[in-house]
Amino acid sequence: MAFPDGTLRRIFERIDSPVSLLRAAATCKRWHIIASPTFLRRYRSAHPARAFVAGAYFNDSTLLSSLMPPIRSVAHSSSSSLVDAKQARDRPSFVPASPSVDARKFSLDFLPDDSDDAAWTVFDSHGSLLLHNRTRIGLSSAAAAVFPDMFVCEPATRQYKRIPRPPPKFLSKSINNIDNSYTDAYLIEGGNGTADCIISMSNFKVLCVFHGVFSHYTVTFTAGATTDSWRSSAPPTPTKISWPSYAKASASMPTSYPATRSLSSGHWAAREAHGHYRDENLKVFKRVEDGDWALDKSVVLPEATRGLPGYKPEFFESPMNILTRGPGFVVLSPQVVERWLVSVDLETMEVSPAEEEMGVMVYGCALPWPPALNASV
């Protein structure tokens, strides 16, 4: 069948899986019409974000369960001492989002394994990329905490890039004049975050947060098509919203929050842990058009959770930890020895008692898009 161009476009727009679309592109030369940027843009906007989800990664569950007691931070660092040699060879597992995705193609076996004692942990994801931390047995956790051995990878295309240490000129000494000031890192898209600017191996940033003398400061690694660079950056959030609210919750992006990253200041307040900063609200931020962030909704935790079984006012004397993020929800726990888990639906902001089994951090991973189809083939 030789279809008219307009008909061909209509057909391709109705193929609901990007995987099927790519296969169709290979069928014959004329069908490379798919490769036009205009078509790919239209296709992307005509389909729900979940169509582009490849699946989700989660870190080794035995490792995670050892990190689970709520009194301990769920941060990715400081885990090396808990890793034994057997677990070290385990890499984060992949669960495909649909039967059309072949899980084997998303295996992380391509990550460099120059020694037996490396353990890989995903700690952020965005679009088709993952941010990993590589830890080694025998390396003290204090040393690893100075600056983690970070890698960004794209599982679908089996590419990776090691994130170098930031140049010393960007780092200030912390209050005790100790270098141990690295706090966290976030994987974000390069550019200004508009729809045309999709994260890829040649267009991403790793925003690293350090604890300075009086406040947090950030240093950003920018990967470009030709060169990579570091620069120190001001908080990208509007002034009325405090910096610590800037969020890492890409896990909740692919399904229900296509353009939203969300999280709470509680997460950050917990990290600050000095008592002078306290916020009882769980806030969800939304990316607005110019790439900035704005407060979308919030819930006052002590009030919202008052009716839940096991509630105690003292749970809120310190900010709550965020234990887990999943698609569209977070699980919170107070910083007390007692275990009391609350799940918050980020769509409705409704709170409910959380199941212990929900305690696995999920990192969504999207298909690379737009695919770098060669229009001239």
Binding site: D16, T27, F106, N374
Partner: protein
Amino acid sequence: MAAPESGDGNNGAARMVTLISSDNTRFEVEAAAASLSQTLQLTILDGGGGGGDGIPLPNVDSATLSKVLEYCIKHAPAAANGGAPNATAVDRAELERFDNEFVNIDQSVLYSLIMAAHNLEIEGLQSLVAKKVADMIKGKSPMEIRRTLGFPDPTPEEQAEMNAHMLEYGWAYE
């Protein structure tokens, strides 16, 4: 051919037009149904197709035209309601059932319909046949797609291109 319950009330009786297929068969149909075709709508608005004149359609044979008109007659009432915002769920379900049944056809017929819907610019029918082809493509490998759609066997060059594509986009293949 069963007429829809009512026309749009012009002069009591619905206005009729005559269409003539490539093999010279004459089809008399309500103007409202024929106007689902953007191409025909212009002619009809100009007053064409009435009386004994008829509108010749040299690119559409009678078998295809009768199929196309079956679609137009079924969809005309809903289209007259501006996409049927006030249609009941039952009406919509009935149209959906009709559509599914309608494209459950031979590939040669489907292909004729695709070309007719394209030439006559019938939006709804174009969408319907495109969806049908999309469903035939989904989940198949490039070779399976070629076979499904009756493409000739690939030339060695085409085969080489397909292999290269599969190598580059390994994640999209099993």
